[in-house]
C-alpha cells in the first residue's frame, strides 16, 4: 500500500475547485458565508493580542491610568464585537453546511436519473456510489471535505498576512547602539536567518502532520471493509424479518464468528498499528515542533527587549503574533496535505458523476395519433447483457397487432422481461432493430417514445407520498382522471375508505399518518398509474405473483376491461392467464419458439407450451 497520494498536487487542486463549483451550484449562499467567517476567524486572535499588548506596554512604562482605561475599554469593545460577529457567522455557516451536507446528495440523485439504464443496472455503478458514501462515512473524505479545506486555506493565508503586519515593527525597531554586541540583532542577515528557521520549522511541522494524515487515508480499504462489517453484523439484531430464521438455524454462531473479524478500528487493526508507529509519531512531532518557533521568537524578541529596543508589552505582542502566525503556517501546510489526500477521493466522486451516456438519443418526435395506430416491430433482434457471455435474446422477430392482447410465457430466465426492457428502450439491442411505424426507435426522442408505453413491472414501486401523486407521477395532477384510473384498476371501493381520498399518504415511511396497503392494493395502484398515463400500449409483467387466488381471479376477470382499446402485453408464468389473450408467444432460451392461440399451441403435444401447461394444469384438471 502506498502512503503517497496517487495524484499530483495540481490535479488535486483542480479537483477541489471543481467540487467547490458543484457545491456552489447546489447552495449559492454557503461559500460567501464561509469566506466571511474565515476572514473574521483569522483576524480575531490578533485583535486580542494587539489590545492586551497595549495595556501591558503602558503598565511596563508610564502607567497612566486614563490611557490604561482607554485601552481596556477599546479592547473590550473590539474583541467583544469580533466575538459576536464571529459567533453569528459561525452559526450561519454551520446551518448552511448542514443544509449543504444533505443537499449535495441531489447531485448524485440527478446523476442516477440521467444514467443509461444499462449503467443503472450495473453493479459497478452502485459499488462506486457505495465507495463514495463509505469514504464520506469513515473520514469525511470527498465532496464535503472541500469546504473545510478551502476554509482552512483562506483562514490561514489571512492569518499569516495579519501576523506579518503585527510583527513588522519587531524587525524594524533597532537595538540601540549602547547594547554593544547585541546590535548584531539589527543585522538583516540575522533577521533573515531567524525567519528562515521559523519558516523551515513550520514547513517541517506541516509536512509531518500531512504525512501522518496520508497514513490514515491509506487505510481506507480496511476501514471501509470494517465499516461494512460493522453495519451488517453489528446491527443484525435490528432486522425483524430475520428473527425466525436466526432462531431455527442458530445463526448467532455465524454472526458472532464474523463479528469477531471487526477490528479495522480496534486495537489490533491496521490503523491502530499505524497510530502506534509512524502515524502517531509523525503527528506528535508535527504538533510538538511548532513550539520551537515560539522558542525562537522568544529568544529574538526578548534579547531585543533586553537590549532596550522595546518594552515587555511589545514582547507579548510579537510573541503572540509570531506564534499565531507559525500556527497558521503549520495549519496551511496541513490543509495542503488534506487537499492532496482528498484529491484521490474526489477522483472517485467524479468518476461517478462523469459516467457518460452511451445510448444514442434521437430527436424525432412521435406522431400523435388519436386512433392509437402505432405499429411496433422487432426485426431479428439479439441482445446480450453487458459483460454476459450468453445471448439473453436471440434473433427475435415479432410484430404487435394494434388493439390485440399478447401473452408472453416461458420459464424464469427465458428472456421475457428482457424483451420488455428492450421494447421500453431501457437497453438497446446489439443486433437487429426495433421499429416504430417503420423507423428505428433509437431515432426518436426518448421521453417522447416512452409516451406510448405504460408498464406495470414485476417489481413496480410506489412512493410514500399522496395516492393521487403516485397515480399521476407528479404533485399537481388531474384529480378526476386519477380517480377514474383507480376505479378502472379495481381500486374504487378501497378509495372510498381512504381517509383523505387522493390526498391520503401511502405507507408510513414519509409521514406517520400514512396508510399501509397490501400487496394486492399496491398492484392495483400501479395499474392505475399505467392507466392514468393513457398510453396506446399497456404492458403487465407478472402482475399476480404476490396475490392469493381470489385476488388473482379478480385481475384476470378485469383484464379485458383494463386493456380497453389499447394494445396489451401480458407476461406471466401462470399459464392460466393465456386463456384470455388473443395470441401467445412462448419464449425459451432467448428465442420465440412458438406463437399462436392457446388452442393451437396446446394441440402441439411436443411443444414447449404443452409442457409448461401440463406442469401446472395437471393438478387442476386431473380427476
Amino acid at each position: 500500500m502506498s502512503v503517497e497520494g496517487k495524484i499530483k498536487f495540481s490535479k488535486a487542486l483542480s479537483n477541489c475547485l471543481r467540487a467547490a463549483g458543484l457545491l456552489n451550484k447546489v447552495s449559492r449562499r454557503y461559500f460567501p458565508v464561509l469566506a466571511a467567517m474565515c476572514a473574521v476567524n483569522a483576524l480575531t486572535p490578533y485583535v486580542a493580542v494587539f489590545f492586551s499588548a497595549r495595556v501591558l506596554s503602558e503598565l511596563a512604562t508610564y502607567r497612566r491610568p486614563d490611557t490604561l482605561w482607554r485601552w481596556v475599554i477599546a479592547g473590550a469593545a473590539c474583541t467583544g464585537a469580533f466575538a459576536v460577529v464571529k459567533a453569528m457567522l459561525y452559526e450561519r455557516q454551520e446551518t448552511l453546511y448542514d443544509d449543504l451536507y444533505g443537499r449535495k446528495e441531489i447531485l448524485f440523485a440527478r446523476k442516477m436519473f440521467s444514467l443509461d439504464y444499462a449503467d443503472m443496472d450495473k453493479q459497478a455503478t452502485h459499488d462506486l456510489r457505495d465507495q463514495i458514501r463509505q469514504n464520506e462515512g469513515w473520514a469525511g473524505l470527498g465532496l464535503m471535505l472541500v469546504p473545510t479545506v478551502m476554509g482552512e486555506l483562506l483562514e490561514n493565508i489571512i492569518g499569516i498576512l495579519s501576523g506579518a503586519a503585527l510583527t513588522v515593527s519587531l524587525f524594524t525597531t533597532p537595538v540601540p547602539a549602547s547594547a554593544g554586541a547585541l546590535t548584531v540583532l539589527n543585522s538583516p542577515l540575522f533577521i533573515l536567518a531567524i525567519a528562515a528557521v521559523m519558516v523551515a520549522v513550520s514547513v517541517l511541522a506541516g509536512y509531518c502532520s500531512a504525512r501522518s494524515e496520508l497514513y490514515y487515508t491509506s487505510a481506507s480499504e480496511e476501514a471501509n471493509f470494517g465499516n461494512r462489517l460493522f453495519g451488517f453484523f453489528g446491527f443484525f439484531g435490528l432486522q425483524k424479518e430475520r428473527g425466525a430464521d436466526v432462531r431455527i438455524y442458530s445463526q448467532e454462531r455465524l454472526v458472532s464468528a464474523y463479528w469477531a473479524k471487526n477490528f479495522a478500528f480496534g486495537g489490533s487493526g491496521l490503523l491502530a498499528r499505524l497510530a502506534r508507529g509512524p502515524m502517531g509519531i509523525l503527528s506528535g512531532l508535527g504538533t510538538g515542533i511548532t513550539v520551537v518557533i515560539t522558542g525562537c521568537v522568544y529568544v529574538f524578541t526578548c534579547m531585543k527587549a533586553w537590549a532596550g529596543a522595546f518594552d515587555v508589552g511589545s514582547v507579548t505582542q510579537y510573541v503572540g503574533a509570531a506564534t499565531a502566525m507559525a500556527g497558521s503556517i503549520f495549519a496551511l501546510m496541513s490543509a495542503f496535505g488534506e487537499l492532496r489526500a482528498n484529491g484521490v477521493y474526489l477522483e472517485t466522486t467524479f468518476k461517478f458523476l462523469d459516467i457518460p451516456n452511451a445510448m444514442y438519443q434521437g430527436s424525432l418526435t412521435t406522431e400523435k395519433r388519436s386512433d392509437r395506430n402505432y405499429e411496433v416491430e422487432f426485426r431479428n433482434v439479439s441482445f446480450k447483457y453487458p459483460g454476459a457471455e450468453n445471448w439473453a435474446l436471440k434473433n427475435v422477430s415479432i410484430k404487435f397487432k394494434v388493439g390485440r392482447r399478447l401473452a408472453i410465457v416461458g420459464e424464469n430466465g427465458s428472456g421475457k422481461t428482457t424483451f420488455i426492457k428492450l421494447l421500453c428502450r431501457l437497453y438497446d439491442p446489439q443486433e437487429g432493430e426495433i421499429l416504430l411505424n417503420g423507423i428505428d426507435i433509437r431515432k426518436y426522442d426518448y421521453r417522447d417514445y416512452m409516451d406510448i408505453f405504460s408498464v406495470v413491472f414485476q417489481d413496480f414501486q410506489l412512493i410514500s407520498q399522496p395516492l393521487g401523486a403516485n397515480v399521476a407521477g407528479r404533485a399537481d395532477y388531474d384529480a378526476e382522471r386519477a380517480r377514474r384510473a383507480l376505479v378502472d384498476a379495481g381500486f374504487g371501493d378501497r378509495l372510498e375508505t381512504m381517509p383523505e381520498g387522493l390526498d391520503t399518504q401511502l405507507y408510513k415511511d414519509f409521514t406517520e399518518n400514512g396508510v399501509e396497503i397490501s400487496g394486492g392494493e399496491a398492484q392495483k395502484i400501479a395499474i392505475a398509474r399505467a392507466l392514468y398515463k393513457d398510453a396506446p400500449f399497456i404492458i403487465l409483467d407478472e402482475p399476480t405473483a404476490a396475490l392469493d387466488p381470489i385476488a388473482e381471479a379478480e385481475i384476470y376477470g378485469k383484464f379485458n376491461e383494463i386493456a380497453g382499446d389499447r394494445t396489451a402485453i401480458y407476461i406471466s408464468h401462470r399459464l392460466s392467464s393465456c386463456r384470455f389473450c388473443d395470441e401467445i408467444a412462448v419464449f425459451q432460451d432467448g428465442s420465440i419458439v412458438q406463437r399462436g392461440s392457446h388452442e393451437e399451441l396446446l394441440a402441439d403435444g411436443s411443444g414447449k407450451y404443452h409442457e409448461l401447461w401440463t406442469a401446472q394444469a395437471q393438478y387442476y384438471t386431473g380427476d
Binding site: V72, A76, G80, A83, V84, M88, E94, T95, D98, D99, G102, A109, F113, Y117, M120, D121, Q123, G237, L238, K240, R242, A244, I248, Q251, E252, R253, F263, F265, A272, A275, G280, G284, T287, G288, T290, V291, V292, G295, C302, W306, V312, G313, V315, G410, N412, C424, R447, F457, Q461, R474, D509, G520, P549, A553, S576, W613, A615, A617, Y619, D623
Partner: protein, 602 residues
Amino acid sequence: MNEKTKPKYGIAQNVLWIVKIAWSTRKRVLVFCLLTATLEVLYNLAQLYIAPEILKRVEGHESLSSLLWTIAFFTASIFLVLVLKDYIKENTMYPRVDVRSVITGKLTEKSNATSYPNTLNADFIKLRERAYNACDGNREATELIWQTLTLLLQNTAGFVIYLTILSRLDLTLILAVAATCAVGFFVSRYTNNWTFTHREAEDVYYAKKRYIRGKAESVELAKDIRVFGLQNWLNDLLESVHDVYLDFRLKVERVRLLTDITEALMTAARNVIAYVYLINMALREGLSVAEFLLYFTAVTTFTTWVMGILREAVRLHQQSLDISRVREFLEYPEPFKFEGGEPVPGADGYELKLERVSFRYPGAEADTIHELDLTVKAGEKLAVVGLNGAGKTTLVRLLCGLFDPTEGRVLLNGRDIRDFNRREYYKLFSAVFQEFSILDVTVAENIAQTKEDIDYEKLRECVERAGLTKTVDGLPNGFDTHVGREVYLDGVLFSGGQTQRLMLARALYKDAPILMLDEPTAALDPIAENDIYMKYNDMTAGKTSVFISHRLASTRFCDRIIFLADGRIAEEGTHESLLKLGGEYAKLFEVQSRYYQEGREF
C-alpha cells in the same frame, strides 16, 4: 416514551460497569484517560507560566544566560508534553472502539437469542433501539464516556491547582468571575434542552431526506422513473424536503446563537472585570508586568475549568442514562426457558399437538388463531391452505415454538414445549419461511450455517436436491463465493428463485426431524415448481412435515389438508374428500383451476 421512566442504574454504577468491561478488554483505555488528563494540566500550567517567567527576567534585566535557559526550559517542556499528548491522542480511539464493539456484540447476542415474542414487543424494540443508538458511533455514550471522564478529571485537577494560585487575590473577584460562568452555563443548558426536546423532530427531517434520496437512487424505482418520467416529481420532492429542513435548521441556529452570544458577552465581561481589578492592584501595589500577566491569564482561564466541570457533569449524567438503557436491554426478561429448561428427549418420531390454542398479537383486537385443536402425527405430511390473512404463518410459528400460545398448549410427544430448553427444541426443525435471513457470508456457510466442519459431500447433495447445482457451479468461487454485496464487494446477488432454492438446500442440510415449508415455491416458474413438488415425497421421507401454500395444486402430495379461515380450521380432509364436501376449499380450487379447464369460454 420511556424517556421519563427512571433509569435502573445510577452514574456510579454505570461508570463502574463500563470500567470493568474496559479493564477486561483493553486496560489501555483507562491508562490513556489518566495520562491525557495529566498531560493536559501540565500543558496548561506551562502555558500559564511561560510568558510571565520569561518577561520577569527581561523586566528585571537578569543575566542573558538565565533568560535563555528559561526559554530553553519552557520550550523543551512544552515540546515534550505536546509530542506525548498528541501521540496519545492519536492512539486513544482504537482501544475505545474495542470496548464499544464488545458492548455492541453483547447487544447483537441478546437480540439474536432473545425469546422470539420479544422481537415483536414494542417496549423491547424501543429499548433495543436506544441501546443500539448508544453504540452507534464514536460520538455515542459507550465510547464518548471516556472523553467525559478524562475531561472531568482534568478540569477538577485544574480547578484545584488554579484555586491555590489565585488564593492571593480577593475572593469577590473569583466569585464575580464564577458568576459569568454560571450565566453562560444556564443559557447553554437552555439551548441543550431545547435541542434535546427537538431531537425527534430533527430525526423526522432526517428520515424524510433519507427516504426520498433512497427512492431517487434506488435501482428498483429506476425503471418506473424512466417509463413514467418521474424525474421532475422526485426532483421537486428532493428540493422540498431539504427546504423544509433548512427552515427548521434556521430555528435551531437562533437558539444556538443565544448561547454563543451570551458566551461572547460573558467573556468580554470577564476580561473587563479582571482588567479593572488587576490594573487597580497594579497601580496600588506596584504589581510587575509579569505578575499582572500571570494573574490575568489565571483569572480568565480559571473559568474554563469551572465551565468544564459543569459541562462534563451534565454530559456524564446523559451518558449514564444511555448506558443504563444498554444494561436494561441486556437484562430484559426472557419469557422462554433456555439453559434452564429441560432437555428435549430423543425419539424416533415427533408428534406435534395444539390443544385449544388461541393466539393474539400484542395490541391486536382479535385472535389470529382461535381455540384451535390440531395434531400432526409423527411422520405425517400435513398441508395448510387458506387465503392471505387466514393465520397460516402464525400457526407455523406456534408449532416451531417461536410464539407461545395466548391460551392453550403446544405439545411435543405429549409434553408442553414450554418446559424445554427452547434452543434445543429449535434443533428439531428445518424450515423455509417466507421471510428469510441470508447472511453476507459464503454460499457454503449460508447452507451449512456454520464456519467450521462443513460436510462438503452432504452440501453438494443438498444443493443437487434443491436444484441449485448449475447455479453454484457457475459462481466465480463455487461454494466459497460470498452472497450479497453489503460486506464483500465480490459477492453475488441471487434472484428470487435462486434464493428460494438456497433456502431449501439449507433446510435439507439441517436434516431435522420436522420440516416446515411456508410457500416455498412462490418465486419459481411452473417447471421448477413442479420439480420441487415431485421431490417433496423424497424430502419428507421419515419426517413430520407441514406445507403451507395458497396454490392448492401443491397440497395433493400431503396426507391431510387443513383449510384455515379466520384462525380456525374450517375444513379438513384429503384433496378428494374436500372437493366432494363442496365447501370453501372446493370453491377456491374452482377459481384457480377454471382457467386450466379445457373448453371453457372467457
